[in-house]
Symmetry: C3
Subunit: 306 residues, 3 copies
C-alpha cells in the first residue's frame, strides 16, 4: 500500500485515505505482535533515530517499533548533537545520516526543523516532534485508538480539556478529526486557556460543531474526553502554570455511570487521578501500544514493504 508522500512531517498529510491505509497495516502488525513474534519485514533495513530533544516516551515507542520490525537501529540521543554543537546545519546532519540509513526519524527542539530535514533527505523521513510545531505520529495514534474503541471516526462528540490553547496535540488531533462526518467538539478550559479563535474558525469551516465550557463535568457526557496536562514549558511564567495546574482533575467518582472514553497523550501529571486507571473508560495506556503499531505500519509503508 503506497503512501502519497515520501516524508511525514505534518498532521496535515493525514488525509482520510492515508489514515485508513495506515490503520489497515497497523492491524496486520497487531496480529503478528499478538502472536508473540517479531515481524521480519524490515530485517534488511537500518533505521536512524535522532532524538536531539529528550523525549523518553516517543523515543522508546519508536525503538519498540524498530525492534518489532527486526530492523537495525542507529540511535543518537541527548540534549546535544555534537555535530550541531560544532556548527553543523540540520540539513548537513540529515544529508550525512541518509547516506547510511534506510529511514530517518528525528525529534528536534526547533519548530520547522522537520521541514528542513525532509527537504534534503534522500531516504524517507518521519517527524517525531519539532518543537511546538508538529508531531504527526501522535495524531495518528490518537486516531487509531479512537477507531479501535469506537469502530468509526464519524459521528463523534469529543471534549478536550484542560489547555486547548497551548496544546499541539489537541490542535493536531482536532484538525485531523475535523475531516470526518458529523463531528462535534467541546473545548473545556479556564477562560485564559481557551482554544484560539483561529483554530475554532478553522474547525467551523470544516463543518465541525464547536462549543466551549469552563465546566469539566460537561465532558463526562461525550464519546471521548481527551485530557491533557498543562505543559510547563509552554508558559512564560511559572506562577501562571501553577495557578492552572490543579484546576481540573478527573476522578473515578466523576465517571460513575459514564461511558465516555478517557484519553491523555501522557505523561499524566495531576489531571487524572490514579483511581481512574482501572476503569474501563481509561484507554490512555493502551494509546502507548497503539503508538508502536502505527509507527511500525508507517515505517514499513514508507519503505515499500507493506
Amino acid at each position: 500500500m503506497p503512501l502519497p508522500f515520501e516524508h511525514l512531517t505534518s498532521a496535515q498529510q493525514l488525509s482520510k485515505e492515508v489514515v485508513a491505509d495506515v490503520f489497515a497495516v497497523a492491524d496486520e502488525m497487531e496480529k503478528i505482535w499478538s502472536s508473540g513474534k517479531r515481524s521480519k519485514l524490515l530485517e534488511d533495513k537500518i533505521i536512524a533515530l535522532l532524538f536531539y530533544e529528550p523525549s523518553s516516551r516517543t523515543m522508546l515507542s519508536f525503538q519498540a517499533a524498530v525492534q518489532g520490525l527486526s530492523a537495525g537501529m542507529e540511535l543518537a540521543h541527548g540534549r546535544q548533537n555534537s555535530s550541531m554543537e560544532k556548527g553543523e546545519s540540520i540539513e548537513d546532519t540529515i544529508r550525512m545520516v541518509a547516506r547510511y540509513s534506510d529511514l530517518i526519524v528525528m525529534r528536534h527542539p526547533e519548530a520547522g526543523s522537520a521541514d528542513k530535514a525532509a527537504s534534503v533527505s534522500h531516504v524517507p523521513f518521519i517527524n517525531a516532534g519539532d518543537g511546538g510545531n508538529q508531531h504527526p505520529t501522535q495524531s495518528l495514534l490518537d486516531l487509531y485508538t479512537i477507531k479501535k474503541e469506537k469502530g468509526s471516526l464519524d459521528g463523534l462528540h469529543v471534549a478536550f480539556a484542560c489547555d486547548p490553547l497551548h496544546s499541539r496535540t489537541i490542535r493536531s488531533l482536532a484538525l485531523a478529526l475535523s475531516q470526518y462526518n458529523d463531528i462535534r467538539f467541546t473545548f473545556i478550559s479556564p477562560d485564559s486557556l481557551r482554544a484560539s479563535s483561529d483554530m475554532i474558525t478553522e474547525l467551523k469551516n470544516n463543518s465541525v460543531s464547536v462549543e466551549e465550557s469552563t465546566d469539566l463535568s460537561v465532558g463526562l457526557d461525550t464519546d471521548i474526553l481527551y485530557m491533557n496536562r498543562l505543559q510547563e514549558e509552554r508558559f512564560e511564567d511559572h506562577k501562571e502554570f501553577e495557578k492552572y495546574r490543579d484546576q481540573y482533575v478527573l476522578t473515578a467518582d466523576m465517571l460513575k455511570g459514564k461511558d465516555t472514553l478517557v484519553m491523555d497523550p501522557l505523561p499524566r501529571v495531576d489531571e487524572i487521578a490514579t483511581d481512574v486507571d482501572d476503569l474501563p473508560n481509561a484507554v490512555y495506556f493502551d494509546q502507548a501500544r497503539n503508538g508502536v503499531l502505527v509507527r511500525m505500519a508507517l515505517m514499513a509503508m514508507l519503505l515499500g514493504k507493506a
Copy 2:
C-alpha cells in the same frame, strides 16, 4: 524451570532453590556463548533497559545479556528521564513501557523505586539497582562466581573489606550466603566503618559465625577476600572519604603463597593494586562475564523460555 516470582526486586528473593535453578541455566548459557554463538532463545522478545542513573558497568552487562539472547533492545539512559522531568510517576512510566516490552530492567537513583515499578508492571521486571537499597543481580553474580571457583556455597570463610558499613553489595551478598551451611564471615574495616550491629545480629541469627578485625592481613587466610572501594557518594563529608580511601590496599606481595580468591564488585579504585590482576587469585574481572550469564539466565527464565 519456572521461578517462584514474576519480578526480581530484592536479594531476599534469592532462596537456595532459586539460586541453584538460575545457575543451572547460566551454565547452559555459558556453553552456548563459549561455542561462539549467540543464543536465539529470546529472538522474538523485546527488552527495555531503563537506566535513569548512570551505571555504565551494569548497563553494558545487561546490554550484553540482551544481545547474547538475540532479543530486541529498547534503551533509555541518562540522568534525566524526560517524562519524569515532566512530573510523571515511576508507576506511569512502567505502565506505559510494559505496553510495548516483554521485560523491563530498571536502574533508578531512588530507594524503593523498584518496588513501585514491580507493583504495576504487567511484564517481568528486574531491579538493576534502586539507590542504596537493592541490586539483586549483583548478589547473584557474586554467588555464581564463588560457586564456579569453589564448587560449593557451603563451608566457606569469607572476609569482607574495606567498608562493610556503607556497602549495599556486601550486605546483600553476606545475607544471601548466610543461607548456606557452615558459613564464617570476617568483616575488616577501620573502627568507624564497622559493619552495622543490625546486620551482624541478623547474620548470627542465621547461624553464621562472625568476626571483626581492623587488620587486612587477617583476610589473606580465608577462602574469599571480598574487597570493595569506598563509595564517595555514601559519605556526607568529602574529607572523611579521603581519610579512609587509602587505608587498606591489597598488593601482590601480600598474596604470596596464599590461595584466597580476591573478588571486588568493581569499579576498583585504589583498594587493589594492579599487580594483583595477573595472579590466579584475582577473579574480579571474571565476575563481569559471570554477571552477563546470570542475567541471561534470569531473563530467559522470567520469560518462560529456559
Copy 3:
C-alpha cells in the same frame, strides 16, 4: 584476509598492504549493501561502542557498520562514563568490557587513551578518536574515497585548506598518502595556521613534493581539494578562532570549469558554500557512506570473518 595487527589505534598502522586489503573487503561490503541486504557476517558477534566524548557523526557511522554486519551492539555514550567518574582507569573499563564483547570501539577525549586500552584488551580494539591524537578510521575512509574516485592513490596532487596546523585529520591523511608514488601536496592557509615544519619535514623525507600558499584558488587546479573547518576547540582564544573562520570559503563560482574533487571530513561549517553540494566535484557526503564500508571491513577482518 588477516590483518598484521589485532588492534587499530594509529594511522601509522595503515601500510599500503593493509589499505589494499581493507579496500578489497570494503568493496565486497558495498556489493552486499547495494543489493539491499544486511550482511550476516558478524551475526554471532557482539560489538561494544564506547563513546566517552560526544561525536554523533563517528558514533552513528560505527552503529551503521555494526548493524550492517548484523552484530549485536552494546552502546555507552555521553560525556560521563559513570565508572570512570567513580575513579576507574581506562584499562579497568576495557578489561571488563572485553569479558563480554567480541570487539571494542572507543572514542575518548584523552590523547593516548587508545594505546592504554589496546594494551590490556583481550579482544580486538579500534580507536575511534583519542583526543587530538589519532583517528585512524577517518584516514582510511578518506583514502577509500580517493581510491574510488581517482582509481589510484599514486600520482596525486592534493591541496589541504584551511587549517593544516591544528587538523589531526589532515596530518593523518597526508602521512598516509605519503606512502604512495609521485605525491604532491599544497598546504593552503593564513600565515599563522601554516602546516608545522615537523610535518613538512616528515613528508619531504617520504619523497613528497610540498608547496605552501595563502591563496585558496591555487587549490582549484589540483586533483583533490581537501577542505576542513577550523575546530574551535583547538584554539585557545575565541577571538583568534573568529578571525580565521571566514577567511577561506569555497563557492560554486570558484569551481566553474574545474574538476578537482572537493572533500571535507565534516561537519562543514562555513568553509564550503552550500551551492557546491550539488556539483559533481563534491564528494564529502559520499565520504560518510565510505566510512561505514571501511569500518565494516575492518571489524570483519579483525574478527577473522572476511
